[in-house]
Symmetry: C2
């Protein structure tokens, strides 16, 4: 049925339930949590800075160099990430030098771990050349990947997912 011979069409999607069975019962404008996230970290410069922070980068010169961003772009983006509560500045001092600041993830920043892992794994599958890095579980050595699970601990696929209006949301 597909017009692209190479594309495998998978028509399973989330099921809309309750009032959201009528998709227009919900206007995403101003309510979409995905868009809220993208407003904070949805730029290439933010994502590559976060990548380096997750891998242990802290100092400005190091972050700028490892991301390939200009100093001006790196400085402006880090300032925004600090303002948004994703990163924080902590002081450090080398012998004989004045106090300077380095950048570390906040707890909110660290909550982006599944985003980082999900983006990384999807990119690994983009072509035959594998990505340059891999993530493994320190305890058992098995490689990591993103999983969607429910609060009861079941792994959940798209076609087992229901999407509904959030009853807690004021409307």
């Amino acid at each position: 049925m597909s017009t692209q011979a190479t594309a495998v069409v998978d028509e399973a999607v989330m099921s809309r339930v309750g009032r959201f069975t009528d998709r227009d019962a919900f206007t995403a404008t101003g309510w979409c949590s995905i868009e809220r996230t993208l407003a904070v970290i949805g730029t290439r410069s933010a994502m590559v800075l976060l990548r380096e922070a997750f891998m242990g980068g802290r100092r400005f010169d190091d972050l700028a160099r490892r991301t390939g961003l200009s100093d001006a772009v790196a400085a402006q983006r880090l300032k925004q990430l600090v303002a948004d509560g994703v990163m924080a500045q902590v002081p450090y001092q080398e012998p004989g030098a004045r106090t300077r600041y380095e950048y570390v993830l906040t707890s909110r920043g660290r909550e982006l771990f599944p985003v980082i892992v999900a983006l990384m794994q999807w990119g690994d599958g983009l072509d035959v050349k594998p990505g340059g890095l891999e993530l493994v579980h320190a305890d058992c050595g098995a490689t990591l990947g993103p999983v969607v699970a429910c609060a009861a601990g079941h792994e959940v696929t798209v076609d087992q997912t229901e999407v509904r209006l959030n009853r807690k949301a004021a409307r």
Copy 2:
């Protein structure tokens, strides 16, 4: 130690192991799977179109309307998503009308499910006003979230994660 009284600093990051203990043993340029992913879906327009596709949107008019994108932007972005193998066009025909095409996720597109869920959950935590939608497991009714797990089935946190050079990558 933080300069922001409100930010909770969490200094746990991934551990670099093997040759990557020297962070400069790896140059991310051209090798970063996160950047590869962002090159395909790293725009707001791509992400909101994918959001609608995951929630059952298929027809152009519907996708453009529900995302708030202009027809020109929606058309151009959908064309690119089809070219990149994330979505595909399938024909449909209403009685008395000519054949038209609607958009569905490919299997590669559907593999973005953890990305969508991770971005959505992080955005839910951005402020006191909850997101407008919630995802639940159809079988048990529990809410969904993103998890990082290893191939052996253990749930893994950032500080249990090791990052190393991919031995399969040609360098």
